[in-house]
Amino acid sequence: MDKCIACGLCAEKCPKKVDNEYEEGLGKRKAIYVKYPQAVPLKYSIDAKNCIYLTLGKCKKCEEVCPTKAINYEDKAKEVTLNVGLIIISSGCKPYDPGEHDIYGYKNNKNIVTSLEFERMLSSSGPYGGHLVRPSDNKEPKKIAWLQCVGSRDNHLGANGYCSSVCCTYAVKEAMLAKEHSHDSLDTAIFYMDVRTHGKDYEHFYNRGKDESGIRFVKSRVQNIVPDSETGTQIIQYIDETGKRQKEEFDIVVLSVGLCIGNESIELAKKMNIGLDHYNFVTTNSFEPVKTSKPGIYVCGAFEAPKDIPSSVIESSAAAGMAGINLAESRWSLTKTKEKIEEINVTGEAPRIGVFVCRCGTNIAGVVDVPAVVEMAKKLPYVEFAQENMFSCSQDTQDAITDVIKEKKLNRVVIAACTPKTHEGLFQETLTNAGINKYLFDMANIRNQCSWIHAEAKEEATEKAKDLVRMTTAKVALHAPLEEPKLEIDQSGLVVGGGVAGITAAQTLAQQGYHTHLIEKESKLGGQANNLYKTWQGEDIQTNLSALIKSVEKNDLIEIHLNTEITGVDGFVGSFETHINKNSKDETLKHGVTIIATGASEFKSDQYQYNEDERVITGLEFDKLLVNENLDLKEKNTAVFIQCVGSRIKERPYCSKVCCTQSIRNALQLKKLNPQMNVYILYRDMRPFGLREDLYTEARNIGIQFIKFDFNEDFSVNSEEDYLQILFTDTSLRRKMEIKAQLVVLASAIIPEKNNKLGPLYKATQNADGFFMEAHAKLRPVDCSTDGVFICGLTHAPKPIDESISQAQAAATRAVTLLAKKTMNMQGTVAYVDQGICSSCGVCVSICPFSAPTFTKEGRFEGKAEINPVLCKGCGLCVASCRSGALHLKGFDTNQIFAQIFALNDESDKGSTNTIQVYKKDSAEAAV
């Protein structure tokens, strides 16, 4: 495997074609292959079941063509024993197979595809190259339908009772993408039971799909699909909103298949002896959401419950952190450090550039005339040395390059080869080994972006390779040695907010061995959880909360600051200084990382007689009644829960995620207190996502009435002496309804603190709804875009307790990844200010997403901008925005990019293009 350079010749020559699993069987691959182009490491492997040599004993085509002798037919699966202290299971899930109990005729109809197959159909690297076509005849479709809940929320044989949680959102996404891919106006319809877009920002996405993209949403459970063999369409019959039976034809029907647990995972769980629930998901406790029933084994991702990518990534950090607690003492004990090589100072020397042009076997040399590129390079200004290499990345070539650098006293290096995305680090190390600053280097991408994509145009590819080498060489001549700023990290953390998320984050940091400040503005810890009764799994929240509070109170590493407000913040990652006012006294706390967990509050409606009639209460107030074991509740004849009060409306377009489950759980509790009570839940879409669906099923079985009301019609609650009158329109009956109740519970929105002052203080941004924004929804779901600041709990988005806890554990774990380093080496490619020509206009200060530029506070350049290299990410926004040209970006400076542009044409080869050479002399070259 070490020898494979992923040139792909083996796959090209392999005679055996097999169905490509990655393309969901829609495309073909060879018997020697990479699973998908983004695979890491990018190495080819032989599929032993299909390899002609391994099955029939003849062929060996791949061995013949492999330029690096990487083929090893003897390679076998090896048994390896690892000694570990802890285990994290993240074996995931598999898509539900609709062919097993094939009610839709999926197996025999090419135009009925699963959602995963449809993803491949949309992909530009997929079987149809991103062109949306009907699989049966490659015609462009006019109409596509999505059927939701295939294999989910279904108690029939082979299906699963739970909600798969992700399918509604992905169906909206697929329908939007399909519309974008389509040349004509494509009709898309999603057939659903409830639209469950409960994740952060997903409701906005749903609204966009509905209102802007024009996706049709049809509330109907479709039972069968009738194919029309003549037209290739699929006929779907359903009942529409007005109660009429409809018949529609679709070119493609996408089955939105759910997630389920594969047999291998079940086997694994049995081997490890961890508890699974009746759906074979790993059982966990809401307060320890990543801990399995067996000590030392943790779980994350969809094996725990059906969930989306952000939640899975959050849990993965949480699981790593929880496991890491037990390993905190042995941190760094197995680490080895590398010997440092003294760097030669090349400042003031004229550039002496070495250009190495890689043949990459035949990968480059088979298309590009490599010797011609080398000859051209030799003539370029400042080039002292140029040669070709067979494989520049091989160890012996690396050593040879190191020797050449030393021998020829090179002080700049260009490697024309594959791509810096994969090989920059490797070649930089070569420079370091030769005693040259690693930034005195650049790559010309003549493989991935040249020979591979112009295989049939050898001459043009050679011209292009020459241009790229010339451009890169011109740039490298202007490279300077760069220093990487080093940052000391204060070995302590600060958590703002003493609710469940904040407490958990503080606890996790302390368990990892770090001194932690926990700030709470109220006089006691617990936040909103102080009012909560039970989790959806039935765990008592008060008992668990007080245990949690006790554990942080007695932890010596945690300093709890009650009645405390934050008044100001200085510093940045590694060395924050937070100024607090604690019981009216000012204090300053120093810390290396910050976790924001300031929570949210419950919306208080000014409608539905709330505040006017004490029989109308909010969901949280109802929980509090249950916590206090209020006995009056038993006496009510009729209770009504009204969903989405203050959520999913114009002013507050997001879904509050927890209220559906909370209402169901509380409705069940009422039924338990008084089985005779009439309990109604009036809803728009019921969203007891994931395994919570069981609770919904239970509630319906027990006789709780769920009524979908028409959101666009009048809805009112009127106070009468003996009862509350609730008037609304039922969507199924399409008529006005009245319920007389003694109790109305408003399932009210979770509202964040808009314009939270911590935002500007810690440079964390809030979205339009007022929730703090993560750096990346999927890849960095608990990081703020500002380094060293993390978010968790309700301040990030509405979420139930188990998710707040896993997110808090994740945030603390992400914080620990910084703290554990003790010092950080930042990148050298950062911006700097030429203060002499700075005009102090402040564009850079304003525009930087990372707060790297500030105004110099004193001295000769007072008021001029300066860059904190530790905070700078090298994006160059400030550089491009600076009108005065005072800002520069090391490694991508203006003159360096200009040099590349100016080297576009070969000066010695006039007339090769339609270049306007005459203009060049008078001005452009001065930049070099």
Binding site: T765, N767, A768, M773, G836, I837, C838, S839, S840, C841, G842, V843, S846, I847, C848, P849, F855, G863, L877, S881, R883, S884, G885, T894, N895, F898, I916, Y919, D922, S923, A924, A926, A927
Partner: protein, 315 residues
């Protein structure tokens, strides 16, 4: 207009008398008709030379960059908007300023007037909307609104947006149905027509940089056209360099330009350089709902990083 002049003189001389400011920036009569000249008054007596009429189109905010001390300044609508931009961009602080606000009724287009009058204009006076011009051989009355500078015709911010004193009651703002008609006309041209339009537009540019020097937004210690490492743009007269200068100057004004017209007024070759800046003003308004210099609370849209930036243009 005499009442304006009187009030400006009174306010300015009092400010200087009471030592509330070190200087007041305003206009004096100038040496030829229809050409007022900016003046800095440092004594109450000098303040009595101040005048106000429909020829005070120069943008005085230009004189504020990096000034020290307390300054009084006479400011019509556009000047005040540029003062706002100056404050936002740290060229001057609000505390340093005493703004004498002038509700403006529009400035005159001198070129338009002189081309409609025979002979050299020897004297100028105005009374309300009537402007009286004398040449050697005749005396003519013209209606002011027929000869407004084109930026004043479409101006919707004639009143100063910030001020400490006002020289008169605020005027009613103009309601303009289609303020960017001229830009739309260019936008609607096919690419050949557009190419010709801009080629003709810049044909006569002599690169004197008067437009840049008149613009209050251009205050960099070293302008990019003067920079030599890297040399952003060639210094000669070749077409690409001329265009580069104009394009980049316009980009530097994006989201900041108040359409005060100083650039065009200053141009000795009568080049309609506002064709560039007005297109960007239109975009700023349509994409970001932004007009420059109306608030101290917010930086221009292109100065800020906002992940929820409207991104329609990228599709």
């Amino acid at each position: 207009m005499d009442s304006y002049t009187k009030k400006i003189r009174e306010l300015a001389s009092n400010l200087l008398k009471d030592n509330k400011v070190d200087m007041v920036i305003g206009f004096n009569q100038g040496t030829i008709p229809m050409a007022t000249s900016p003046q800095v008054a440092r004594t109450p007596e000098q303040a009595l030379e101040f005048v106000w009429n429909s020829n005070c189109s120069i943008n005085l905010a230009n004189y504020l960059s990096n000034q020290k001390g307390k300054i009084g300044i006479v400011a019509k609508g556009c000047d005040s908007r540029n003062i706002v931009t100056h404050i936002i961009e740290n060229k001057i602080s609000r505390e340093q300023l005493h703004i004498i606000g002038v509700p403006c009724t529009g400035m005159l287009d001198k070129v338009k007037i002189s081309s409609s009058i025979d002979g050299e204009i020897l004297s100028y006076s105005e009374e309300g909307d009537t402007i009286t011009l004398k040449t050697k051989s005749s005396e003519q009355n013209i209606v002011k609104n027929d000869f407004l500078a084109s930026n004043c015709e479409t101006c919707t911010h004639r009143n100063p947006v910030i001020y400490d004193d006002l020289v008169a009651d605020l005027v009613t703002e103009q309601k303009i149905d289609d303020p960017f008609k001229d830009v739309r006309k260019i936008e609607e041209m096919d690419s050949d027509a557009k190419w010709n339009h801009f080629e003709n537009l810049l044909e006569n540019c002599i690169r004197c940089y008067a437009c840049r020097n008149a613009c209050p937004l251009c205050y960099c210690p070293t302008c990019f056209v003067d920079e030599s490492d890297p040399q952003w743009v060639g210094k000669g007269q070749n077409n690409i360099d001329v265009r580069t200068f104009h394009f980049l100057r316009a980009y530097h004004c994006a989201g900041r330009c108040t359409d005060c017209g100083a650039c065009e007024q200053a141009c000795p070759m009568d080049i309609k350089v506002r064709d560039f800046t007005r297109k960007l003003n239109k975009d700023a308004l349509e994409i970001y709902g932004w007009e420059a210099g109306l608030t101290l609370e917010q930086r221009p849209p292109l100065d800020t990083f906002n992940p929820e930036d409207p991104d329609e243009f990228i599709k």
